[in-house]
Symmetry: C2
């Protein structure tokens, strides 16, 4: 089995941006890269075999969802997540923390990442220093998520990269509570790492840097986590109310992380943020934005978002996006895509998703080239 390693191929002369390559047991992730979100072990409206043709190197699956359906024991029995979902390429799973704390803090967590929380998604019963007890929305069973059980679940899933259990504090938290939350998160991440190292199974674990928009706390978090043998560093928690706040926070935080380790920005990969964050030296970005936008009828283009349902497209018998070489743009017209959305056909969701994911792959490749040429 190929061990997890990260090599930096080029450091931009113009910014902190770098081009790198992450080696995992299931293949290479060129960086900087976009990570598609397949919450339940599938990208929405796309099957994993087809997805192989798009060129996405890393897929993000959600432990919280898989824990409840089909359950980690089923996936372990299948031989791991790669076999279960038919994907012989790198996968990253999260800890489940984000979802359980979204349940607990509801509307507040929604502010952070515009993560809608359905009322049917269960309920949190108790939060202690040990972890979170919640009720499954699927069968009403109580589920205890702790650093240890989260890592055990991620061991059963067997993704290439896993994430320690952390606390996601509400956005409107007072500085003292944020500081206490950070200490708890650090304690939980340490316990997660210990649990992981009992049986690494070739998996890599990325720490999650917290501290909200408090630069001192972020620095403290970097220092604490960098002292532990994590394989990489993800940036989580509140990124602030605006892109500017996020960029300010990331500009201060990233230099505090070990340069030789890969880093990841959790849950953010809209085009504006990519433009701002690639120069800061972020290596990977995950987001459900491109697929969600697609299902809502928005195609990503270099000239801005294209709203498929606009009346002017009903007889545009040209490629949906000029010059695009994706499966959708190669085989269908804008008029047909417009029609599929107007007729509420599922195939429209699939075709728009293919385009947006292809766009992300191409976009990241362009960023790579710009870094290699020291343009950014």
């Amino acid at each position: 089995m190929i061990p997890f390693t990260f090599e930096i191929l080029h450091q931009s002369k113009k910014s902190r941006a770098r081009v790198g390559r992450i080696h995992t047991p299931h293949g290479i992730i060129d960086t900087p890269n976009f990570v598609a979100v397949g919450t339940n072990g599938t990208l929405k409206a796309l099957d994993n075999e087809m997805v192989k043709t798009i060129g996405l190197q890393l897929m993000f699956c959600n432990t919280y969802h898989l824990l409840l359906q089909p359950g980690t024991s089923v996936i372990r029995e299948a031989g791991g997540i790669h076999k279960f979902i038919n994907r012989n390429l790198p996968i990253i799973t999260d800890s489940g923390g984000f979802q359980v704390f979204s349940l607990a803090y509801g509307g507040v967590a929604d502010e952070l990442k515009s993560k809608g929380t359905k009322k049917s998604e269960g309920s949190v019963l108790k939060i202690t220093s040990d972890g979170v007890l919640f009720r499954s929305y699927r069968d009403g069973q109580k589920v205890l998520l702790t650093p240890e059980t989260s890592v055990q679940a991620q061991k059963a899933l067997g993704a290439d990269i896993i994430i320690p259990f952390d606390e996601l504090p509400p956005y409107h938290i007072c500085p003292k509570a944020l500081s206490r939350s950070l200490d708890r998160t650090h304690e939980w991440e340490k316990r997660s790492l210990e649990e992981h190292l009992k049986n690494p199974q070739g998996q890599a674990m990325y720490a999650v840097v917290h501290g909200g928009v408090d630069n001192k706390l972020r620095e403290k978090s970097c220092k604490f986590l960098a002292d532990l043998p994590f394989d990489g560093f993800a940036i989580g928690g509140s990124m602030g109310k605006t892109k500017e706040e996020m960029v300010t926070m990331l500009s201060a935080t990233l230099p505090k992380l070990p340069e030789t380790a890969p880093n990841h920005l959790l849950g953010i990969a809209d085009l504006e943020s990519l433009e701002a964050c690639v120069p800061l030296g972020i290596d990977t970005f995950d987001s459900s934005y491109p697929t969600k936008a697609a299902r809502h009828g928005t195609l990503l283009t270099h000239e801005g978002p294209l709203k498929i349902t606009r009346g002017i497209f009903k007889n545009k018998f040209t490629s949906p996006v000029k010059g695009c070489s994706c499966y959708t743009c190669e085989h269908y017209t804008l008029a047909y895509l417009h029609h599929l959305f107007k007729a509420k056909e599922i195939s429209g969701l699939t075709l728009a998703s293919v385009h947006n994911l292809h766009f992300m792959v191409e976009l990241m490749s362009q960023y790579k080239n710009k870094i290699l040429n020291d343009i950014i």
Copy 2:
């Protein structure tokens, strides 16, 4: 352009079943064959490029739906339905009659073909000897569907096989009214044919035989229509309350049709009906049943329907259907398909649809071989 022709390759010694080949401007349809329904110019949950790999030779599109969205003028401007939807293979369109009369007679027509009529689907304003005036559910515009406008719409679409405008009487119609309806339908079909022959454009027109379960009326219908220069004959109207009634009616009706012309059974292709009707000499069958069943989580198998969501499948890490060579069965397990349905993932609908359509293609190929060997 290849003209429409039909050749019979083998007549079974055991039944009226035959193996044939329909040549159309967009390629061959081997018979007997299953015709997939792509109401809006797409099979549900599948894109037409992918569908090419399944081996379906003929696709059924609905004029009523395409008339309202995107409108026939858009499709004409695109260069016809084949170009608009990216399908360079045979297509058949209906007249729109079935849908407008379903609107008019609502629950009664629903009895006939279990066609659900959404309340939002517009309303019929007037039925006269000229045709049907209805209100579009899309924009509230009045639309007049007559033999002439239906054929003109189908000329704009440009399918390989088109269907004359007919009346679909309610099932619980008195014998006198049924007889009057048949006369009107014949008049409309004649007018449709005349309109068609003004500009054949290489299209073939199949008559629609009516008469409900009244054998005398069916015979009258066959006689009337066979005297006109139609290219083939579809069986429409009420088929009776039970499969037995349908088989009795078809057994009496089919021998009254010209043997050398292709025939088609409208809207019926469930497995039980195929088993009963292939020996009667039906050449093509259309139905949305295989794709609808798929979206409801039912896989077709030779051992009967397989309900994907059954709990016992959650850890069946084998091919969904043993021995099946479809894309879905080749790449995914039953457990994963079960999971996708439990997690309400769109990709599950796609994968189940691929399997069921592949199953139909294989099944019809098996029927062909049995006929060639005089087994049926």
